[in-house]
């Protein structure tokens, strides 16, 4: 039960219920779709790059609480950041949710994203937490691409 509470922390339940940056930008410079065919999660990410920084970003779609909260937290976290900073954050989040980072979570670097650390105890849910980040990577580096959790190597 405590593991379940670690997974569904209040912050996550809140972002699930009231997702931030929800919707689509009217004139995005970059966008991508993400899809998890195993559970039916779908995500569309639109963002506007200005001078190499993410000036604005939005997401919409349907998914579980973990994927929705992760997307919501991500959009908050990467807004105003450079592409390189966003990439580094993705690497940190990925290491955290897959358990590669061990039990020590660097809250200074991850900020609010640290609430996703409980995912590491639920291997079946790692793809839910990382879908938004894979979609961001596709939007930034493979313009217009559609990513699927079933075509990546994890």
């Amino acid at each position: 039960m405590s593991e379940l509470r670690d997974l569904y922390q209040e912050v996550i339940l809140d972002h699930n219920k009231r997702p931030r940056n929800f919707g689509r930008l009217e004139h995005p410079t970059h966008q991508a779709n993400g899809h998890n065919p195993l559970c039916g999660d779908r995500l569309t990410l639109t963002l506007r790059l200005e001078d190499g920084r993410i000036a604005d970003i939005r997401f919409d779609g349907s998914g579980c609480a973990i994927s929705k909260a992760s997307a919501s937290l991500m959009t908050d976290a990467v807004k105003g950041r450079s592409i390189e900073e966003a990439d580094r954050l993705f690497a940190d989040v990925h290491a955290m949710v897959t358990g590669e980072a061990g039990h020590e979570v660097d809250v200074d670097r991850l900020g609010k994203l640290a609430v996703l650390s409980g995912v590491a105890e639920f291997p079946a849910r790692v793809k839910c937490a990382s879908l938004a980040w894979h979609t961001l990577e596709a939007a930034l580096h493979h313009a217009g691409a559609e990513v699927s959790t079933e075509s990546e190597t994890q």
């Binding site: 379940l4 569904y8 339940l13 559970c39 999660d41 779908r42 998914g63 579980c64 609480a65 929705k68």
Partner: protein
Amino acid sequence: MDSAPIASTPGLDLAAIRAEFPILAQQIHGRPLVYLDSANTTQKPQAVIDAESAYYATINANIHRSTHLLSERATQAYEGARRRVQRLIHARESREVVFTRGCTEAINLVAQSWGRANLRPGDEVVLTWMEHHSNIVPWQLVCEQTGARVRAVRITDRGELDLDDFRDALAGPSVKFVSLIHVSNALGTVNPVEELVRLAHERGVPILVDGAQAVPHLAVDVQALDCDFYAFSAHKLYGPTGIGALYGKAALLEQMPPWQGGGDMIASVTFERTTYNEVPYKFEAGTPNIAGVVGFGAAVEWLQRFDMAALARHERSLVEALTARLDAMDGIRIIGRAPHKAGVVSFVVEGVHPHDVGTILDSEGVAVRTGQHCAQPVMDRYGVPATVRASFGIYNTTDEVEALVAALGRVRELFG
């Protein structure tokens, strides 16, 4: 479940049945396992586990090949299992049973052998919106190869096949084949297969029935159904994974070309010309999953100890009990309201994604499937991204229905 006495059901001693499944005795997250995912795969009784193990310990040899005693025994065990499967589905002859890797491979076999030989550009293969992906994609593949096309018959809001649309589909001039599911894995609907076969045959069109979810729950008689092909898997029938069977009418199987080449499927091979072995060996290239076939036979023998009518009544009572409990709860929507269902209750919890429901239920020891159930068209039809699916087997009890209902209460506690 472990401590309380198990309510019995007429004709089935549930406590004794449960004791035959070693896996059911374990705890999950510190709670008794409540396994409600038998439509995904059933658990295995000790008799099946022992049969595979005993095969490797005492018989193991290749079949149909050598003159030594072990090979003869292995061949007898393998062909004995074929006769058991024949009797299970009441096929006329044992050679009408082809062993495959499972139901999926059985359908692929028909698509690649019968389909490639008979489908022409513009021909139609009639499927339904209820199909599992394994009865959609093999036909899409053969349609790409032949220029034929797929037509999907609609389903109603209750989750039944739209018989008028089925008749319309059959009335088309280009219909060459029908392939449809007996019992829907996503909805539980039992289709009126006998009538569907009759309608297809009135048009002179052969029909395959995907029986993966039917054979574990209903007495199936392929001669009474008169279907041309019937496909199913052992692992949904208390048997091992990776093995299944295709039933085909002998006359059809004989006309069909092989779809895989290799040892055992040939009569003679020269570089100029190869002649093929007879049915069913023509379709069993290479050394097969002999231990799996032996386990399959053991599962059939085990299941046939029970009265299928009593089993069907028991599972129906579980479906009805869960349906009544879910209907009494706020914010639950059952997907699939066909009056005749077998083994499956699919539902969504308002405001909570099925994936989250599944994780919370698991933390309470309750194993269900969440997702699209390899039936994306069904999800699209009912406008849901996924469902929670509880599915029953011979060993499930009404106490386990209550355990699921209690665990759903935890979902509400967490998600409000």
